[in-house]
Symmetry: C2
């Protein structure tokens, strides 16, 4: 069976909505998701880089993120024909380990924890496909990368882009035709 | 640069000495490392499988394991010519995440956390070499496996075996000749 590796934040879990909401609340700011298009919070408020990171390092930041629309149905569907691995960059934020683990157990209970991979540099991943919102993770990746649309990557070109989980499903349906 | 993936327990960290010591202490037993040759604790005391696992799940079991002789010097030496990744099966024991992370930071501070991989099934690892004490991890591995001798694997054949970190170093020196 071919392997699909799937990133969590911004792909399965809605990271930026919560991050922005907490940032606005904590620092009486009023940034919107629209303002994040093509950029990142740390670029819009460069003098607050440490505070922006600190929000993510708070205990349980990752535990209650919303599930990205369509991800559960589509991944369950894909798991019939592919081996699914969850490959998430957890090492920059070690406080995220338990929140991420428990979130996956809750929302994707059909995926075995044996198929979770908490890593840093993703060039260590051996899979046929990688669905990720960070195009830098495709560098050195031996398979086919699919760039999952997120606010920060809207303007990037040169990658196969998927705008939703329904487009992911369509991609794999056409691969198997 | 070629990649070497290295397992932690029984390869970098002396897992079985502490496990056996705690087991003996807790259950007034007197098993020795010699009795573990070619087998595992759970095979010697099959009626206590749950208790044997529970010891590992205790908080901080992994935090203070002894460093396997030679591992620091040899891995540091190998890191000049190879990309080193630490690939450890952490998903069966999620309580191990922080202990393992902190142990690596303390004893192998020259390896970036971006090169830590906490996983389950290791067929997801893309490396040229895998140094591991569990031969099942070589199944589906695309590179060359090196079986690091541990009590439980003494009798296994059919693999390239390394009995110590000095033998690991000798192996890679002969690879580069």
């Amino acid at each position: 069976m071919k392997k699909i590796a799937i990133d969590m934040d911004e792909v399965m879990a809605d990271f930026s909505s919560k991050h922005l909401r907490l940032f606005n609340h904590k620092f009486q700011d009023s940034l919107t998701i629209e303002e994040l298009q093509g950029t990142r919070l740390r670029n819009l408020r460069p003098h607050m880089a440490a505070e922006i990171t600190a929000i993510i390092d708070e205990d349980n930041f990752f535990r209650d993120l919303s599930v990205v629309e369509g991800s559960q149905e589509v991944i369950r569907e894909l798991s019939k024909d592919y081996e699914i691995y969850i490959t998430t960059a957890a090492m920059e934020h070690p406080t995220s380990f338990h929140g991420k683990y428990e979130w996956l157990r809750e929302h994707f209970s059909f995926i075995s924890p044996m198929n979770y991979v908490f890593c840093g540099d993703k060039s260590i991943i051996n899979a046929d496909y990688l669905i990720d919102d960070n195009s830098r993770n495709f560098r050195g990746f031996r398979g086919q990368g699919l760039l999952f649309t997120a606010p920060h990557n809207r303007d990037e070109t040169g990658f196969i882009r998927v705008n939703s989980w329904y487009e992911v499903l369509a991609f794999f349906k056409s691969e198997n035709r």
